[in-house]
């Protein structure tokens, strides 16, 4: 018994303690960890990329929907799985702390940005600025549902909306994109409480600044990288259209503001996609341009600020210009030039009372806008007429058909259907229509070729009218109207009756000098003074009468000559000269920044290519073609003597010389075709004397001695002597001319150029 007991005890304890070691050295328990899953936040990683793709127009609808859905889910999960400092919500610091610690480790939201987001929260959902409640978070999630729907609707348009559309974009697509933006914003506006808030632009600026900093910090680039730098421009735009400290109250006001902003955005994208391609060569381009113009005007008319206060302060416009220049949206012109010019336009052309007085001009008001709208409508009426002209299959119409169409045009219908105007405005349109008829019915009508060069030929009717030439005609007519409106006398309400004095011409030149020089239209050395232009308009146009001021007809013809000769012909000469290697080898530039041209080369090239660069002067081109080398030398010498502003010793010709030369050639040809009654291609004494009346005031002072009272016939003889002999006569020379005039003397283009040369100095000085 005893031995069994001992055996058992021994076995048990031996077994027990031998095995002990295996039992006693278990591993320590690994600490258990619960896990609040992050899977619902995982999808957030893809959100920035998807939103970036969306914002650059590369987003797919499915991905956008999924991304916003992910944000919703994450917010819902956040709401369920976290608690903030407040009983029922989160402070901005709570959110910063959470997102900074777990989701935005590299770039947290700054305290200022967080406060901005809370301010926006208050604007959208109301409540306390210190806390976002769970209910507000729930509302945000439901608003995101609307946002998702609208984002999906916007997705196909985003490329256009964010200026990323490549290739051909048509107008309908742009319009559809802007309209979808409008629709989406209006829908979103209605699901938030923005209309009841006092959210200010200052708050938005801080928000944008924070957003920019946040996005930059997160390494995102592209559209948002310089978002902060755009804020001042956006603010400037906002100040112009909405006002500086305007309080916007109620859904209706907010809806207006949204529409206003979308209008502006719509115009911006239209300009972006079509602005550079606007020309007047085909109807669709012109239609698009006029639609854009109409859109711009409507936008300003409907702007919140204009509607509320009937004016936009110039201070805001100035600031907008400053910002546009700052952002390099306007690079070819200084802000001073723009500001000066638009104020001149406002106080002169568009202000019925000021007559160019800029003192006290503090705003762009409804009267200015009404004037611009009227002139725009008048332009459109003219264009409607052009569009309605019965061109044949080749696109041609003769003068007879144009005049018949004018007579048959249903003005009443056009006004009522296209413009929906009040009676008083309709009357103004009718008056403008009569002015148009006045220009159309001139014996020698301004006419353009297919390249918008003014046609100066003996028989104007030989060349057909086209839609393009008439469109150009209508555009220049509008310029002439504005010119007349700004600088003509206002004794008559009818533009056709107004005249621009020499002093006002000089004022025009002064007004636009800064702008003209900057866009390289005016010579910075002042060679092309306003008073000289006055004389040119008063002497060398088809309708010039040499007396009083510049009439509407003269003004229109002057503008037409200026734009034709000043742009196309000059451009053609320069192209031709460069093609023939006339560019100055030393690379010297003239005051316009263009290469000087080697004169000898230019002279030769011009002789050989005269008809190519001046196809609009067929008579003169034929004359030059027939000239011998010696005659051409003489012709050219007189032409350059009259035109040259540069130093002849350099052996080079500069842009200013070519411009003047081109204008003089046009003026000579204008005189020839106007007064060459017998179509001999020269002016005989009788024909010269026909032209003489318009020059009487100019020719009179050259008669000496002064105690002799010259009579008109004598003065005309003086002028004829000057034209035929090519020199400014004195008293005795005129007497001698009286004896010679029975002889068969004629004024050729060359002799007329010699007169220009002779009178060059006189042209520069004002008449007494």
């Amino acid at each position: 018994m005893r031995s069994r007991f001992q055996l058992l005890i021994t076995i048990v304890f031996a077994f027990y303690f031998i095995g002990c070691d295996a039992y006693l050295h278990d591993k320590k328990m690994a600490p258990e960890v619960l896990e609040l899953k992050s899977t619902k936040f995982d999808c957030l990683k893809a959100v920035p990329e998807d939103l970036k793709a969306f914002s650059t127009g590369a987003g797919e609808e499915k991905k956008i929907s999924a991304s916003i859905g992910c944000v919703q889910t994450a917010l819902q999960y956040f709401s369920e799985r976290t608690k903030g400092s407040r009983e029922n919500g989160y402070t901005a610091e709570d959110l910063r702390s959470f997102f900074g610690k777990y989701l935005l480790k590299e770039n947290n939201v700054t305290p200022e940005f967080a406060q901005s987001l809370y301010k926006l929260k208050v604007a959208f959902f109301g409540g306390d600025q210190e806390v976002m409640t769970r209910e507000e978070l729930a509302r945000l999630i439901s608003v995101l549902e609307v946002f998702k729907t609208q984002s999906v609707a916007l997705a196909p348009h985003m490329k256009i909306l964010v200026f990323q559309a490549k290739g051909k974009v048509n107008l309908d697509e742009v319009t559809a994109a802007a309209e979808q933006l409008r629709k989406s914003l209006q829908v979103l506006l209605r699901v938030v409480d923005l209309s009841r808030s006092d959210y200010s632009f200052e708050s938005l600026k801080v928000l944008m600044s924070g957003l920019s900093q946040f996005i930059q910090g997160s390494g995102q680039v592209g559209l948002y990288s310089d978002i902060r730098s755009w804020v001042p421009l956006v603010e400037a735009v906002k100040n112009v259209f909405i006002g500086q400290k305007t309080s916007i109250n109620g859904i209706s006001d907010w809806s207006d503001v949204v529409n206003n902003m979308v209008d502006l955005y719509g115009v911006t994208i239209r300009i972006y996609y079509f602005g550079n391609s606007v020309n007047f060569s085909n109807p669709s381009d012109v239609k698009r341009a006029t639609q854009l113009g109409n859109q711009l005007l409507t936008m300003v008319e409907n702007s919140y600020q204009m509607k509320r206060t009937a004016a936009i302060p110039l201070e805001d416009l100035d600031n907008l210009i400053d910002q546009m220049v700052e952002m390099k949206l306007l690079t070819f012109i200084s802000k001073k030039a723009i500001k000066d010019t638009y104020k001149i336009l406002l106080s002169g052309m568009f202000d019925p009372v000021r007559r160019g007085e800029t003192r006290g001009l503090v705003d762009f008001n409804r009267e200015h806008l009404a004037t611009i709208r009227r002139e725009f409508n008048i332009y459109l009426l003219g264009q409607n007429f052009v569009d309605s002209l019965p061109f044949d299959e080749k696109g041609y119409a003769d003068r007879k058909r144009i005049l018949a169409a004018y007579q048959q045009f249903d003005l009443r219908k056009a006004i009522s259907e296209s413009f929906h105007l009040e009676n008083i405005e309709a009357s103004a349109m009718k008056a403008a229509w009569e002015d148009l008829g006045l220009l159309l019915n001139q014996p020698r009508q301004i006419q353009f070729d297919m390249e918008n060069r003014i046609l100066v030929q003996a028989q104007g009717d030989l060349y057909p009218y086209t839609w393009k030439s008439m469109t150009w005609w209508n555009l220049l007519r509008t310029f002439a109207r504005l010119f007349q409106l700004g600088y003509g006398n206002r004794d008559s309400l009818n533009i056709a009756q107004s005249e621009i004095s020499e002093a006002m011409f000089a004022k025009w030149y002064d007004d636009f000098n800064t702008l003209g020089v900057e866009i390289k239209a005016f010579d910075p050395r002042g060679a092309n003074g306003g008073k000289r232009s006055f004389k040119e308009a008063n002497f060398f146009m088809y309708s010039s009468d040499g007396t009083g001021g510049v009439s509407y007809r003269e003004s229109f013809e002057f503008v037409s000559f200026l734009f034709s000769a000043g742009f196309k012909n000059v451009s053609d000469i320069k192209t031709m000269a460069e093609k023939f290697g006339c560019a100055n080898e030393a690379g010297e530039l003239d005051v316009f920044g263009n290469l000087r041209l080697n004169e000898k080369c230019l002279k030769d090239a011009l002789k050989r290519n005269f008809s190519r660069v001046f196809p609009n002067l067929p008579g003169m081109a034929a004359d030059v073609r027939k000239m011998s080398a010696k005659s051409w030398d003489y012709f050219y010498a007189n032409l350059m003597a009259a035109s040259r502003g540069s130093d002849p010793r350099t052996g080079t010709v500069e842009t200013g010389d070519i411009r003047t030369m081109t204008m003089i050639l046009h003026y000579v040809e204008s005189l020839i075709v106007t007064f060459d009654v017998n179509q001999s291609d020269t002016l005989d004494v009788a024909e010269v004397k026909l032209a003489a009346p318009r020059f009487r005031d100019f020719a009179k002072p050259s008669v000496h001695p002064e105690f002799l009272q010259p009579w008109d016939g004598f003065v005309d003889d003086c002028f004829a002597n000057m034209v035929v002999n090519g020199a400014k006569p004195d008293f005795w020379a005129v007497l001698k001319f009286q004896a010679q005039k029975a002889l068969d003397r004629e004024a050729t283009r060359t002799s007329m150029l010699r007169v220009f040369s002779t009178l060059k100095e006189a042209l520069k000085t004002p008449s007494k």
Binding site: Y16, G19, H25, D26, M29, V33, E35, K83, D94, K101
Partner: protein, 445 residues
């Protein structure tokens, strides 16, 4: 709950003591946790002072009591009180009994042998060594010779009695090595932060006042060496189920986890067959456990769901009062516990368990030695192993009875277990470093 329960019992016990043949014991013991990797508490040694009151098994008294309690010196969290049985028999005859109170009844050999708490609750102050507690209610037992019937019904439910725990400032207090503390930290978006637990104390009446019933029929013809049993109970599961939900408290950078206890009903149906007699017998039990699937928590909470299970148990006993060899095997088929909810993690075992393990076999041997002068020594060794749940438990108990009044005991318990995982869910692994040696002395009065 245990404190109020103890007070009530104290009032009940006073008259019981007066009427029944009760024995009272006073004991002192020292519990030492001997593993060098012990981490259940800050101290490895506990001195316990306890008392036990029970009626003898031979007693035919109307009142039966088995209550005990113990106080750990300097570690109040280790204190316990348990009333494994406490009932009154209103018709104490051989053939018929009508019992009111808490009574341990042999509903199934599986439940008795393995003490899983499937049918009758268990006292798991030490989960490695659970003690069966009785169901509480009204029992009607009829013995008709060849067959027996037991009916049970109750409006009261008392769940398993586990180790005490305390929650201080959102943290489960470290101190009771038998309490498995839930995870201390939570991972939120890859950051691990501390957990602040918020235990939503249940309404005790909601837990206790839950009706349950059961029935058992036993066929054992006289002199036959076989026995068949059928039983069925419908009652709340004895294991309290924990639902939990977490959120992140931003200002404190804390993960807050709310815990809420709940009970799930289940029905257990069992068949059992036995051959042999009291000296040698083999028993096979099969039980079908079908938990209710109705969720008791909000949908966003994380909570367990229990699959139905078949539990097989095979036992073999040979011996008598002096020596006894027992062999056993049990296996749970099905019965997966899967957590559902935001905090559920398929790589982590459920916080709540229904079965302490899914498979085990066990061998135990008991020997009683009679020594001179009325002294005796009782020794018991048992070895439990689970290939499926990868644990082993080796227990050795020895009690030296010096006299009718004094006895001394020694106990050793060694545990080895693998890591817990979703696939390996068991209760033993949690205490694998709670290897223990205990010495004690008991005084009967």
């Amino acid at each position: 709950m245990s404190k109020s329960f103890a007070i009530v019992l104290s009032f009940i016990l006073l008259p019981v003591f007066a009427l029944a043949d009760v024995h009272s014991y006073f004991d002192l013991r020292n519990d030492s946790f001997v593993s060098p990797d012990f981490e259940g508490s800050d101290r490895p040694n506990y001195q316990m002072v306890g008392a036990r009151v029970l009626t003898t098994s031979a007693s035919k008294e109307s009142f039966v009591v088995d209550v005990s309690g113990s106080v750990a010196v300097g570690a109040p969290i280790m204190n316990y009180f348990t009333a494994n049985q406490l009932y009154f028999d209103s018709a104490p005859t051989e053939k018929s009994k009508l019992i009111f109170g808490r009574m341990i009844h042999s509903w199934s050999d599986m439940d008795d042998r393995w003490k899983t708490g499937l049918i009758q609750p268990v006292f798991k102050w030490n989960p490695l060594s659970p003690e069966t507690q009785g169901l509480t209610g009204v029992f009607w037992l009829q013995d008709k010779g060849d067959w027996e019937v037991t009916l049970y019904a109750s409006p009261i439910f008392l769940p398993d009695q586990g180790p005490s725990f305390d929650l201080d400032n959102g943290q489960f207090v470290r101190g009771n090595p038998w309490f498995h503390r839930p995870p201390e930290s939570i991972r939120i978006l890859s950051e691990v932060v501390k957990i602040d637990y918020q235990f939503q104390k249940p309404n005790e009446s909601q837990i206790i006042l839950q009706s349950n019933y059961g029935a058992q029929a036993i066929l054992h013809p006289k002199d036959a060496k076989y026995r068949f049993e059928f039983m069925h109970v419908y009652k709340p599961m004895n294991q309290i189920v924990l639902g939990y939900d977490g959120f992140y408290q931003i200002p404190k950078s804390l993960g807050v986890v709310q815990l809420e206890p709940a009970t799930y009903y289940h029905s257990v149906t069992g068949l059992q067959g036995q051959i042999g007699d009291e000296k040698i017998r083999a028993v096979y039990s099969i039980l079908y456990d079908r938990p209710d699937t109705d969720a008791k928590f909000e949908s966003k909470w994380t909570y367990p769901t229990f699959d139905p299970a078949f539990i097989h148990s095979l036992g073999f006993d040979v011996g008598n009062l002096k020596r006894k060899l027992s062999l056993g095997y049990m296996r749970v088929s099905g019965g997966d516990v899967t957590e559902t909810g935001e905090l559920a993690d398929p790589t982590r075992p459920s916080i709540s368990m229904h079965y302490p393990y899914r498979e085990a076999w066990q061998v135990s041997y008991f020997q009683r030695f009679s020594l001179p002068r009325g002294q005796s020594l009782e020794a018991k060794m048992s070895y439990k192993r689970s290939p499926l749940n990868e644990f082993e438990i080796l227990d050795l108990n020895a009690e030296y009875r010096l006299s009718a009044l004094w006895s001394f005991s020694a106990k050793g318990s060694l545990v080895a277990a693998s890591d817990l995982s979703f696939e390996n869910q068991n209760e033993i692994s949690q205490f694998r470093n709670n290897d223990q040696v205990m010495f004690g002395a008991t005084y009967a009065f």
